[in-house]
Symmetry: D2
Subunit: 342 residues, 4 copies
C-alpha cells in the first residue's frame, strides 16, 4: 500500500483485483473448462481429473509469469505452460484445449467482478440505510437551498437527503441488473467463433457458465460495449458521491455551517483547520473516474477479431475505476460518520 | 450547415435539437403545465385557455431571447417574459406558476430526446436489416480473421457480421428501455422540492407527464446520473460503429482487399485513391463521443440544488453527442451501401 | 448564432474560423503557391497570373463544396476542381501543382490561427490591465483566504489578484512564442516528402512561407504534436479563467460576500437572485476545454503518412477549443466589469 | 510489481516516484528550509544543525504516515510530527517554521521530476540515435507510403524515420526547456503569500531554491498551469511513440510486411503468431495518457487559495502519466531492437 492509496485506495477491492485473485479466477476457469470438456467428451475424464489435481497443487512461478506477460502481452501462455509442466504428458494437450488467452482472461474478470459487486452492494446498502435514518430523524428540519451558488429558498433536509440517496438507489439496482447482463462467460477460441471446439463449443460453453455461476453469451472478445456500460455505472456511482462531496464542502464552509464535520483533516500550519478531506477526495475520485470512463470508451474500438492495444487500454483503466469506486463508497461511509447536520 | 457538418453532421438530428425545436418543446411544457394546473385548481380555467391561445399565436423575438440567454444563463426568464406580454394582465401570473427555468428546460429536452430516439431506432433497425441480409447471402463464406493485427485463422463472414450487429442489437434494446426510465418530466420548482406548487405539486406533475407522454419522476434537477447513462449509451453506439469503421479501413487495405469500397473519397493529388472516408469518420466520431462522454460525466457534480456550471457543461456536450450519434448511424448506412465483400 | 452560443460562444473567433474565412485562407495558399512556383520555374509566370486572376474573381459553389467535403472527407478536391474550371485549359494543371489537400488545409489553418491569436493577445492584455488596475487600487486591502474550502488566514487582494493574473501573463507569453514555433506552412505533397515538386520543393516552400508570413518547416502532416501543444495552451487559458470563475462563485456567495456581482443573471422563479452566470460559464468552458484537450490528444495517433480518422478528429475538437477560449476571454472581460470587491 | 506493470510499467520511473523517493525529497526540502532559515536569521543555527541531524538519522514510522495521509489528506502534518519528536524541544518549532504542507509536497515533486527528466532525456537520446543510425543505413531505400489507410505513392525510409524522430527531437528540447521554467520551488506558507515568514520570505525562498538547484518562483500553489503543460508534454511524447506503434502494427501486417518484428508475442492457441505486443502497448499508453491529460487539466480549477479536491486529482493522474511516459520510452527501445526493415 502506498501513502496515496491510504487516502484514495480501497484495500478490499484492491485485493479482489490483485494478481493472486486474478490467478485464482483464471485457474477456476481452466478447471471448469476441463470438467465441462470431459463431460461433453471433448477431453477424457482422466485428463480432467489430472488437470483438477494440477490446479489444486499449483504453485506459480510469479517471475516467469511476469516475464511471460511482458513477452506475450497477456499472461495466459506462460500460465498454461507452467500448468502443463505439472501434468503427465498425455494430458497436457487437454488443458486449455480449444480455448485462447482471452477466454481465460475475460471470464476471470467476470468472476472477479462478481465479488467486487458484492462489496459495492453491501456498501451502497449501508450508505442508503444511514441516509434513511438521517431522514427519519432530521428530515423535517429546514435547510436553506442554494441554486447557482446563491441563496435560493428554504427547503428541508428530506429533499437534500433524497438528492443524495436517489442516485445511489438507482445504482444499487443497476448493479443487480448488471449481474445478469454483464457477468457472462467468454468462450470463443482463437478467433472468437468457437470453431476450435469442433462440435462441442456451445455445449462446453453452457457447462462452463453453469459451473462458474455466470451467464451464457456468444463470444464478445471484440465487442466490449457492456464493459463501457460498466465503466459508466462506476462513474455514475462516484459521480453521485462526488456530488455529495461537493455539497458537504459547500455546506461545511465556516460562513455557512449547515453541517459540521467532526474529525476533519489537520494542517501543518494552521491549527484551527478542520478540513473536509473525505468530501474533497470524493470530488477528486469522481472527476478521475469521469475522465477514465471516457478513456475506457476509447477501448471499444477493437481492430478485427482482437486488439491488443484496445484490450491493454481496458486493463489500464477499468481496474483503477473499480478501485476508485470502492474507495468512494468507503470514504462516503467515513464521511457519513463525521457529518453532523447543524 | 457548415462544410464540416456536411461530412460529420446530421441534418435530421440537428433539426430536432435546433433552437426552434427547443422552443416548441418549451412551449409544449408551458401549455401542459397550464392545463394540468387548471385541472387541479392551481390556476383558473380561463387562465389556462388564455395561455393556450398565447402559445398558439406566439412569435418569439429571437434576439431578445438570445440576450436573455446571455444575461440569465438560461433562456426561460426571457421566454416567460415574452409570453406573459401576450397575456391579459390577470392571467400573467398563472403562466409558469410554481415552475422554474429548469422544469421547462429539462422537460423540453426529454420531449426532444423522444424524437431523436425515433430516428436512432429507425436507423439502427435499418443497419441491422442490412447486416442480416448480408449474413443470409454471404455468411458462410470464409474470411481470414486477424487478431492483434496479425493473420490468425480463417473464420466466416457470419462471425464478422455478428461482431458488427450484436452491439447494435443491444443498443437498440437499450434505447427502448431508456424510453421508460429516462424520458420523464422535470417538475420541482425553484429548489426542486415542489413546495412552490402548494398542495398541488404531485397532482400537477402526474398530469403534465400524462399530457406530454413522459414518465413521472421525482425532481432530478441536481441528480443527473440518467443523463450520464444516456451519454454512455450514445458512446456505445458510436463505439460499435467506430469498430465497424476500424475493421473496414483494415479490411479495405489494398494489400488485404477483403472488402471493396465503391465510391470512396478522391484525392486532390492521387487519382488512383479510393479512400474509406465514411469508415474513417466513424472512427473519428467514436473517439470524439468517447471523449465527450467523459466530459459529460464531469457534469454530474452539481453544487447543491442547481449548478449553473454543471448544467452549462451538459449543454455543451450532450447535444453534440446526439448529433455525433445520428451522424454515425447515417454514415454507417452510407458505408453499408458502398461495401462489397470480396 | 444559436441561443446557446449567445451564452457560450464568441462571434469574433467564430467568424475567423467560418467556412468563408477558411476558404479565404485556402485561396491565399493557392495564390502563394502559384506565385512561388512561378518564381522557381515550377510553373509558368502566365499560369501564376491566370491563377491569381481566377482567385480574385472566384465565387464558390458552396453546395458543391459541401458535397465534395462529404464525398472526399476534405474540401480541397472540390475546391480545386471549381478553381480549375475558371482557368484556361493550359493553366489548369499549374494550379495546386505538386500539392495535396493537406498542404492547403493545414496551411490555411495556420493563417486563421494567426488572426485568432491577435484576438487572444488583445483580450489577455485587456484582462491583465484591468487586474493591474484593481491591484493598484485595492491590492493592500485585506481578504480572508480559504484553503481546502475552509477559512484559513487573512491575506491581501494583491495575492488574490496575482493568482488570477500570473497564469494569464504566462499564457500571453506562450501565445507569442507559439507564433514562431507553431505558425508554419505545411508543404509536403501527397505523401509528405515534397517529392512531387521535383527539385523545387524546398525553394517553393521557403517562398510560400515568406509570402504568407508563416514559419518554414519540414512537412508535418502526420506529426501533430504542436497541435496538441496548442490545445493544451488553450486549456491552460480557459483553466486559468475557470479558476477565476470558481473563485468568484465562492467569494460571491451571499454568506461570504467578499465580492459583489452587479447585474448577475435573473431567475424565472426567484426575483431576489443575482446569479454569477458569467463565472459559472467560465467554469463550464474550462471543464469542456479540458476534456476536449484530452480528445484532441487522441488525434496525434496518425496511421502512416496521413490518417483521415485522426485528422477529422482534430477538426471536431480544435475549432471548438478555439471558440471556447475566445468565449472565456470575452466572458472574463464581462465578469471583470460586473465585479466589485467588497 | 504487478503482472500488468511487467507489461506496461517502468520500474525505474516508479522508483523515482515511490513513497521512499517522495520522503527523501520532502526531507531534502525541510533540510534546505532549515539551512536557509538559519542563514537569514529566521531560526537559529543551532536549530538548523539539530534539524539536519534529525533528518540524517530519521527512520519513518510508515504506518503512522499512512494514517496521517488518510486523516489529513496530505502526509506532511504526520511527517513533521514524527520529525519534531526527534528534535530537542527548543528546536521543534524551528522545523517547518513558516511553511505549509504544500510547500513541502510541491517542492519535493519538483526534485523528483528533475530525476525523472534525466531518465526521459537519456531514453529519448538513445531512441533518436537509433533512428539516426537506421536512416544512415537504410534511409535511401524505398517504402510504399499509405495515406488514409490506402496505398499512396512510394517514399523513402528517410521520410518515415523523420516522421518518427522529429517529434521526439522537439520533445527532448521541450524537456530541457521545462527544466528552467517548471522546476521551481514552492514556498508560500499557509495561504501562499509568504506572510508567515515575516520579512524573510523572499530571502529564504531564494536560498532554498539555490540549495535544491531549483528555479525561483512566486508561490504557485493554486495556479497549476505549468503542471498542465507538463502533462501535455508527456502526452506528446507518448503520442509520438503511439504513432510509431500504430505505424509498426500496420507495416508489420503479414499482408504488407514492410517491417518484421523479431521475437513478437506468442499466443496460447496459435503457434504461428508473432504479435507486435510492444507496438500495441505503445498505442494503449498513448491513448491512456491522452485521456489522463484531459483529466489532469480538470485539476487546474482550484478553489481559492488551495483545493484539496483539485490537488488530489493531480496526484491521481500526474504520477501515472510519468510512469506511462517512462514505460513508452522503455518499450520503444525494446521495439527498436525487434524491428527489421523489410
Amino acid at each position: 500500500m502506498t501513502l496515496l492509496s491510504a487516502l484514495t485506495g480501497d484495500p478490499e477491492v484492491e485485493a479482489l483485483l490483485s494478481d493472486a485473485a486474478q490467478l485464482d479466477a483464471k485457474l477456476a476457469f481452466e478447471r471448469a473448462l476441463a470438467e465441462a470438456s470431459a463431460e461433453t467428451g471433448w477431453i477424457s475424464e482422466a485428463a480432467a481429473t489430472a488437470i483438477g489435481q494440477a490446479i489444486d497443487g499449483f504453485e506459480p512461478d510469479w517471475s516467469a509469469l511476469a516475464a511471460g506477460m511482458a513477452q506475450d502481452g497477456v499472461v495466459v501462455p506462460a500460465l498454461v505452460k507452467q500448468l502443463r509442466a505439472q501434468l503427465p504428458e498425455p494430458h497436457r494437450a487437454a488443458l486449455h484445449k480449444g480455448a485462447t488467452s482471452q477466454d481465460v482472461t475475460d471470464t476471470a474478470l467476470m468472476l472477479q467482478l462478481a465479488r467486487v459487486f458484492d462489496v459495492f452492494e453491501s456498501r451502497l446498502t449501508a450508505l442508503l440505510d444511514h441516509f434513511d435514518a438521517l431522514a427519519k430523524e432530521h428530515g423535517q428540519r429546514e435547510l436553506m437551498a442554494h441554486t447557482r451558488m446563491q441563496v435560493a429558498l428554504p427547503t428541508t433536509w428530506d429533499a437534500k437527503l433524497a438528492s443524495w440517496s436517489e442516485p445511489l438507489r438507482r445504482q444499487l439496482q443497476a448493479i443487480t441488473s448488471l449481474r445478469r447482463s454483464l457477468l457472462v462467460i467468454q468462450l470463443g477460441g482463437p478467433v472468437g467463433d468457437r470453431a476450435s471446439f469442433g462440435e462441442h463449443g456451445n455445449a462446453i460453453a453452457a457447462k462452463v457458465a453453469q459451473r462458474l455461476d455466470l451467464g451464457l453469451a456468444t463470444p464478445w472478445q471484440a465487442t466490449r460495449d457492456p464493459i463501457i456500460a460498466l465503466g459508466s455505472l462506476l462513474t455514475q456511482i462516484t459521480g453521485a458521491l462526488g456530488k455529495l462531496g461537493v455539497d458537504v464542502t459547500l455546506l461545511a464552509q465556516n460562513e455557512i455551517a449547515a453541517v459540521r464535520i467532526e474529525g476533519g483533516g489537520g494542517s501543518s500550519a494552521m491549527a484551527h483547520k478542520s478540513n473536509p478531506v473525505n468530501a474533497e477526495v470524493l470530488v477528486a475520485l469522481a472527476r478521475f473516474n469521469a475522465g477514465l470512463s471516457g478513456t475506457l470508451a476509447q477501448a471499444q474500438l477493437h481492430e478485427n477479431e482482437r486488439s491488443g492495444a484496445a484490450w491493454t487500454l481496458e486493463w489500464l483503466t477499468l481496474p483503477s475505476m473499480l478501485v476508485n469506486t470502492g474507495a468512494s463508497l468507503r470514504l462516503a461511509g467515513k464521511l457519513q460518520q463525521q457529518l453532523h447536520l447543524a
